[in-house]
Subunit: 130 residues, 3 copies
Amino acid sequence: MTSVKVKTSTREHMVDVTKQIQAEVKNSGVATGICTVFCPHTTAGVTLQENSDPDVKADMIQSLSRIVPREGHRHAEGNSDAHIKSSLIGHSVTMFVENRKLVLGSWQAVFFCEFDGPRERNLLVRVIAG
Amino acid sequence: MTSVKVKTSTREHMVDVTKQIQAEVKNSGVATGICTVFCPHTTAGVTLQENSDPDVKADMIQSLSRIVPREGHRHAEGNSDAHIKSSLIGHSVTMFVENRKLVLGSWQAVFFCEFDGPRERNLLVRVIAG
Amino acid sequence: MTSVKVKTSTREHMVDVTKQIQAEVKNSGVATGICTVFCPHTTAGVTLQENSDPDVKADMIQSLSRIVPREGHRHAEGNSDAHIKSSLIGHSVTMFVENRKLVLGSWQAVFFCEFDGPRERNLLVRVIAG
């Protein structure tokens, strides 16, 4: 199990971490198997999305804020929206490894999704042969 | 593969099952690997969330009911909202195991999410070395 | 790793692929372990849902379109709604294998969820012993 550090610079922020995950896959020495990326935070998540047009990220952040407004919750810390978004996006993604590389669709990138930043965060990565 | 029983007492109910999952990890005898928790129901799900302030659970249940209202669907059983919430929250979470223990973030707990209770339900757990 | 082809015939379309995934599990020769289904697309996803009443699928498609309207986004391709739905539904589901068969709840079926069809798509499948 290894860890990838992520620094976010705004409250909501999608950070492309594909290169770092690919590096962990290569370092694992596993040629064929699965790679799970795990987000150990309750106000952030991990997803796969397109990274060619930055508008897709902007649209996703805006839509999530429309789906889960910041106001109208009880939790005294004032970040319930971030908790709920994190469970909607999810905390683990399992991908495949072939020829020591992550198998992704043509348009897929791995994104850390910050919903209560800016902060220093981390993702955990494990690669298993199989 | 083992099974964890969950009893829910209201229609929407988030139940912290972290201790039961940790016990299954310990019983598996696996020191290092992955642990997948699987929800075999179509009107319930599994997620990770904070369990220090119970308001987070209340806010999540309320938000999900705002996102997917109970009325306005076709399905004659009248629980389409529960089906849709279950797919939004998801049915599997894969976590890591180190030193015979589940690796969770400081604030993370594993929650069974009931959307059509009260019922007796179960979660399936498998731990794989790797 | 194997691939399952899926042909969708409308813009939003949930296709039951349970039989194809069961066939891949059987072909893998693995008696006991895990099976991960991975969606390599950014405007589609994979989920588990009921397939006895087709109204459940219709309600889910309609609800998702209410949660993420097609209009009001920046992305010039005009399919931001499909990108966002794909991240809400998710791109990987991990299930268990026992006696060379996928373990599913009584009402569960595996669905490919198209949000920007009609298209020819594929799902990736890997079965690992454990």
